[in-house]
Amino acid sequence: MIRAILTVFVKEFRENLRDRRTLFSALLLGPLLGPVLFYAALSLNIEQTTAKSDRPIEVAVSHGERAPNMLAFLHQYGVDVKPVDLDDSGARAAIRDHQQSLVLVIADSFGTHLALGDPAPLQLYADSSDASNTRGLSRVRLLLEQYGSLIARLRITARGIDPSVLTPIVVQDVDVSTPASRSVVLLGTLSYLILLTMLMGGMYLAIDTTAGERERGSLEALLTVPVKRQQLIYGKILATCAYMAISLTLTVIAFSIALPHAGLEHFGMSVNFGPLAVMRLILYCLPLVPLGAALMTIVAAFTRSYREAQTYLAVVLLVPTLPLVFAGMLGLRPTARLMMVPSLSQHFLITSLLRDEPIPAAFSALSVVTTLAVGAVLMSIAGRLYDREALLG
């Protein structure tokens, strides 16, 4: 049984190595096109997001009633104040769970301290490691300081002193940064391109070994050999897997060479893309290979011609990449449940790897196991479908 599968695998692998179209799409187009598309996405993204930089910042405020004037001040400078009721631990939890990005807690004694002229305590909670927050955090802190100095000026004026003595120098900050959500989108684009080129690497093989074989008329002869049809299709899927794996490897290596020159650091992003990261990235994506190969083979095996197969597969290529799009739009973050979704879990693994944010080992394991399981199910479906008579067309 293994021998028959290997025989088919070796033949398909070798035959397609001689096919210029397959070679071009698997080994050249993907790895080259990936970085090029990424550059395009990069520049487009910058244009798009510069427009969003004036969006109001949202701050969750607990016990706002203790400082109504301060909140009015914040509001006047474009801060959206959202009343919440959180204590210290609640505020920490809200930040950690990404329910809030900024929480301002006004202490009980705030008013009395202020009235006495003592420093009045405020707690501003934020996650400084979360790159998407930095702009909002610094802006709110600046506004609070401005409010503080406003009060100081009033106090000094009340004592008959010119308040300008308090400002020996004037620094004008011009915030031209773009929202850091961009980094998420960019890395999403990166993982999207990696997964897409991986699938594309196997697309022609999936078509050639099924619809192509039927169109050339060689399928009929092949089905007369004393080998189970499942074994034939497994050998073909294996060859598709091999090309996908090669395409994946080349693409990731191409990105690792190209990215350091993309000037990402200018946009406040640092990308972790050393040799170790390259290896881990490939390992994260490999479980998706059998799934994609089986899926494309199933679809290609039931089209009537090479061209029809191409049309359908162009659509099928989008299926495994859809979760990524949703993740980008909804700003999804990895959870145990989402890590069970193939391709989405790989996306999370890739982005967390590139951002150098460790992801729990259990999450990676979950991704590998569920992806392989779905792949195995699709493989057996492909095997069963290949047994049908309608296959001959």
């Binding site: 033949k11 008329g217 089905l223 001959l392």
Partner: protein
């Protein structure tokens, strides 16, 4: 030996094979003769286990194609309609691939491929990629592929289609040689001369039904026509050949 009894096969509303029984013996060349659409290819496809019949059964050397198709396949070599060889493999690689799929060892396969390349006069193109092959070269390659595992029974679907005179002669010589070695050969054709020149037995099919069988002489005498072509037209009814 190939035996079929009351085969029936329909594709949706179209009944391709209505009632076909036939017997192709070892050491004989049996021709399946009929106009286009008579059910020749469907019959052959059932016999070489690619299609399952809706009714009836067939045996290859006593093995049922319905109950044990995998075993039956070991006893047949098939030249399907349109040859269908792999364009990016050389002729030799095409043959070796099928040798391996039939379970031949690498050495065995290689020796057998070399033998067939000599036998079919394929030396000139054996190690060229099949993409630019002429029809004759393609048929030779497909034939070598079909018999790489020394099957006792060989089924050929319109093997002379598109061949020039020289290629037809090589093919005939080979088929006769296989017959003389004791193989059972069954081939389909709609060309009268072909069948007359080559066959020991003829099975005439029309509308998915066997309308006559016997030696070419039998059929000529039974229809009262001295010419096989006239006999054929008589058997299937006029106009049918155009359908």
């Amino acid at each position: 030996m190939i035996e079929a009894s009351t085969l029936r096969k329909a594709f949706g509303a179209v009944t391709a094979v209505r009632d076909v029984s036939l017997r192709a013996q070892d050491g004989r060349i049996t021709g399946l003769l009929g106009p286009n659409g008579a059910g020749k290819s469907t019959t052959l496809r059932i016999l070489y286990t690619v299609l399952r019949p809706d009714g009836g059964d067939a045996t290859i050397d006593g093995i049922s194609v319905l109950r044990d198709p995998l075993e039956a396949r070991k006893h047949i070599g098939v030249l399907p309609h349109g040859t269908g060889i792999y364009p990016n493999l050389t002729a030799r690689e095409n043959v070796l691939y099928f040798g391996a799929l039939h379970g031949l060892s690498r050495k065995d396969s290689a020796a057998r491929a070399a033998e067939l390349i000599g036998l079919l006069e394929m030396e000139e193109f054996a190690d060229r990629v099949a993409k630019g092959f002429s029809q004759g070269q393609r048929v030779k390659t497909a034939l070598a592929r079909a018999i790489v595992h020394r099957p006792r029974n060989v089924l050929l679907d319109e093997p002379t289609n598109g061949l020039d005179v020289m290629a037809v002669r090589t093919l005939r010589r080979l088929l006769k040689r296989l017959r003389d070695e004791g193989h059972c050969l069954l081939f389909s054709s709609h060309v009268m001369q072909e069948v007359g020149a080559l066959c020991d037995e003829v099975v005439v099919i029309a509308h998915g039904t066997v309308v006559a069988n016997g030696t070419p002489d039998d059929i000529r005498s039974r229809t009262g026509k001295s010419n096989l072509e006239d006999a054929f037209v008589r058997l299937i009814g006029t106009g049918e050949g155009l359908g």
